[in-house]
Amino acid sequence: MLKTTRTLAAAAGLAMLAASVFAPAVARAQDTIKVGILHSLSGTMAISETTLKDVMLMLIEEQNKKGGVLGKKLEPVVVDPASNWPLFAEKARELLSKDKVAAVFGCWTSVSRKSVLPVFEELNGILFYPVQYEGEESSRNVFYTGAAPNQQAIPAVDYLLANEKVERWVLAGTDYVYPRTTNKILEAYLKGKGVKAEDIMVNYTPFGHSDWQSIVSDIKKFGSAGKKTAVVSTINGDANVPFYKELGNQGVKAQDIPVVAFSVGEEELAGVDTKPLLGHLAAWNYFQSVDTPENADFIKKWQAFTKNPKRVTNDPMEAHVIGFNMWVKAVEKAGTVASDAVIDSLIGVTVPNLSGGYSAMMPNHHISKPVLIGEVQENGQFEIVSQTPGLVVGDEWSDFLPDSKSLISDWRAPMSCGNFNTATGKCGGKGS
């Protein structure tokens, strides 16, 4: 009997101990404003996301030099969600409820954003998402500083139609949501422009696909039908290097079959010998080669911060720069870091971007940006060959998909809705 009691007591103690480990530390005096950084530092996505963590640290350091925000210093809270999607949700929850961060800058892949979305909505946090994505989403708690399909894919296709007179299209992508959606939109768009179904070839490959021999040879075959052919690539990060190496080796020249990519930037090209890739294209809202004083200044600071004079910059970094500056401005406007106030004051905030203009946060939580088309140069940089004359506003609900055609998003009162249906006049999607 005694033994049982002792066992019970021991077990109870253990359980209490276990539970207390999870209880938050007693809250300290709030003399700083915490900013969460939720980027993978290990696993498959570390390759892209680590840079974004660094750029955030730089921005925060700089802001602190300028005196912080609302008279308080900013304190970065870095966690590693390790390219593990459920871990993203867990870490987001930790940042919001344990560390009580004022805003989170993070995520790269769509799935990580999808994973944290309910957490941000539940705990009313603020997430700045810096990467180009498929659209079809608008959340009150998320600010999308990367490109929506209309800020990247459609202008790129327009460029190819107008300047390269492309008639046949290969839509090659990694099999996940972003390429699928983008290609759906592009297919609808191209068909609207009179391209026949047999002149569009769609191809999906798994993540990290490394043997591109057959596919590149198929592309060559498809491209030798006598009509000008181009490849629109939504191939994901890791698979790009072997893809471009194979393109180079099989002699697919940009003059014959140009490849325009939406996920290949300066960072990705840093791992490839670009000589055979001369002239292949990419569409972004920013290139390192943008020739403005703001950009030169940013590059200088970045290379000094990373102590690497060759370190490149890229589009998602600029998105974080814009997002961070917007947040700072909105917090100052609202005079508080409280989520609701900041969320409301963010809309309409305008900050300079690095390509010489001003980007504004729109009511749909997407921003306005210029669209640039660049050609790969020998030095791994992009030569900008086209730039939209004005800014393009991110369109979260594509006009080219039947189910999202009539949806809009406007987070201002009184509508305050992420999926307002203009046909039925109701919030909540298509309605039944």
Partner: protein, 542 residues
């Protein structure tokens, strides 16, 4: 090819320079045309290129080449088009037409004339018609190819003149094909010429010919005879291409198989021979790739002339580095775990995490660039096969490594000792073999071979901390499919899986193809629970 072009460019410069001095008057006529190159947008530049090409003057050639290379600038003060080469902080300017020195200019004083793909195409078309009669056979060939592609009827006269003078049979045949292409595309060609052209194109027999023939047979207003001939030729070419397509698939399979072989063969030693389930095998491959990167980086910095040899130099370095890491791992971790294969799985899994993160900390998480030496880039055609040099060398390298390993294990004292230790440790030890040292060396050998795989993979894949992870599962599949402990099994397994994968890919797509291969392996293991080349008889149960 690029080398030939460069050579040709250099020769041409000389020729052009003399031509320019001889015909100063002509150069003066060209001047305003050249000036138009810097007039404004891409469309203006394109028009200027066309105008320059129209002159048919060889002096234009170096100007266009400079434009293509991105060496032409507009001087801001007088909108003059100049040729610039970078020199400390600014540019040294020369006249693109005569080559006369025009002094220096600061970075802000000139604007680069930007070119894009359509300009590049325009330039190569222009150069094509201008260089058909170049003294260099390679250039003439490139020019003829370019004419074939553009099929510009205006170039027919120039092409026929060139054909009349051409002596080189290879170039001649391309020119004839180009002529046929123009004849088939142009309106109003007599039927007899068309029929002849169809025959020429049929003989060419590649994908472009197919497209051309298809255009002919579906063209409006073609006569029945032409249409029938085109139909027949189309079918013949299609047939030929589909046969070559099979061969091409076989080659792709062989090439994928050899990559799998390289990745798996080191594992066949550590896992197959020693029984160590080495989950850090992929990281040994990765270390080999990073060693290659380091070697190449050092060569780029200190001895750029040796760049083409960098991969060759990297081979022994990668072997030694990965091998040394392997020996270190064996001495510190694995040797405590012999006879407990499962524990080696856990410990090496831990090691693989540590190694990945270590590389990420040292080299950063992003990809590193490993360039291809000139002898490994580009491709050549063998009949209807397109074979890239890089892949060909990897296939050869894989077989070489396999052969050497086989010889090392079967024909040398070292191999004998390894086999003795793995078969009967006590007996080997009693015979004076230092078993501990043999273990370390064997593990080092397996790791070193993984490092060699890293050298090859650096040519076709990302050099990133994740490199190893993407090959580890495939490697285990290959070794198990082939039969653990049998090198020949690994060879056949790798090639079989590679080929099956490549034959499935066109029908099922890359993803489904891979899934089917995995299901095939699962089912195959049911039929032969010990792999393809299993040991039979009583020894199995021992």
């Amino acid at each position: 090819m690029p080398r030939a072009l460069r050579l040709w460019a250099a020769m041409l410069l000389v020729v052009a320079a003399t031509a320019a001095t001889l015909s100063g008057a002509l150069a003066a006529d060209l001047k305003p045309l050249v000036r138009n190159l810097g007039a404004g947008g891409f469309a203006d530049t394109e028009a200027a290129i066309a105008a320059l090409a129209q002159t048919g003057d060889p002096a234009v050639v170096p100007v266009l080449q400079a434009l293509e290379a991105g060496d032409l600038y507009v001087r801001k003060e007088d909108r003059e088009v100049v040729r610039g080469s970078a020199s400390n902080g600014g540019y040294t300017l020369t006249d693109p037409l005569g080559g006369a020195a025009l002094g220096e200019a600061g970075r802000g004083a000139v604007d680069k004339i930007r070119i894009n793909n359509s300009l590049r195409r325009a330039i190569s078309a222009a150069l094509g018609s201008l260089t058909l009669m170049s003294p260099d056979a390679g250039a003439r060939r490139a020019a003829a190819d370019s004419v074939f592609k553009t099929r510009n009827p205006d170039g027919l006269a120039a092409l026929e003149t060139a054909l009349g003078r051409e002596n080189d049979p290879a170039v001649r045949s391309i020119m004839e094909q180009a002529r046929a292409a123009i004849l088939l595309t142009a309106a109003g060609t007599p039927d007899a010429d068309r029929l002849g052209a169809i025959e020429t194109i049929r003989a060419r027999g590649d994908q472009e010919s197919l497209a051309l023939l298809n255009a002919v047979r579906s063209a409006e207003g073609a006569s029945a005879a032409v249409r029938a001939a085109a139909d027949k030729a189309f079918e013949a070419v299609e047939m030929r291409l589909s046969l070559w397509g099979m061969a091409q698939n076989l080659w792709y399979g062989l090439s994928l198989g050899s990559v799998l072989l390289l990745a798996a063969i080191g594992l066949a030693v550590t896992f197959g021979v020693m029984g160590v389930i080495n989950m850090a095998h992929g990281e040994m491959v990765m270390i080999g790739a990073y060693a290659t990167f380091l070697v190449q980086d050092a060569i780029r910095t200190y001895a750029p002339g040796l760049f083409d040899a960098s991969i060759l130099i990297a081979i022994p370095v990668a072997f030694l580095v990965s091998g040394a890491v392997g020996v270190l791992i064996e001495r510190t971790v694995i040797r405590w775990l012999y006879g407990r294969p499962l524990e080696t799985l856990l410990a090496t899994w831990g090691l693989s995490l540590v190694l990945q993160q270590a590389v990420r900390s040292i080299f950063g998480p992003t990809n590193r660039e490993v360039g291809a030496p000139s002898w490994m880039s580009g491709s050549f055609e063998l009949g209807g096969l397109v074979i890239t040099h890089g892949r060909l060398w990897i296939v050869i390298f894989a077989f070489l490594v396999f052969g050497l390993l086989l010889v090392a294990l079967k024909r040398t004292w070292f191999g004998l000792a390894i086999r003795a230790v793995t078969q009967n440790r006590n007996m080997a030890s009693a015979m004076g073999i230092r078993t501990a040292r043999m273990d370390a060396l064997t593990f080092g050998l397996g790791s070193g071979i993984a490092g060699l795989a890293g050298v090859a993979l650096s040519q076709i894949d990302n050099v990133s901390p994740n490199l190893g992870q993407s090959y580890i599962i495939d490697s285990f599949m290959v070794v198990v499919f082939g039969g653990v402990g049998n090198l020949w099994g690994t060879l056949v397994g790798a090639l079989a899986l590679g080929t099956v994968n490549k034959f499935l890919e066109p029908y099922a797509g890359a993803v489904l193809g891979k899934i089917l291969v995995l299901i095939f392996i699962i089912l195959f293991i049911q039929r032969r629970p010990r792999g393809l080349f299993a040991l039979k008889g009583r020894a199995v149960e021992a």
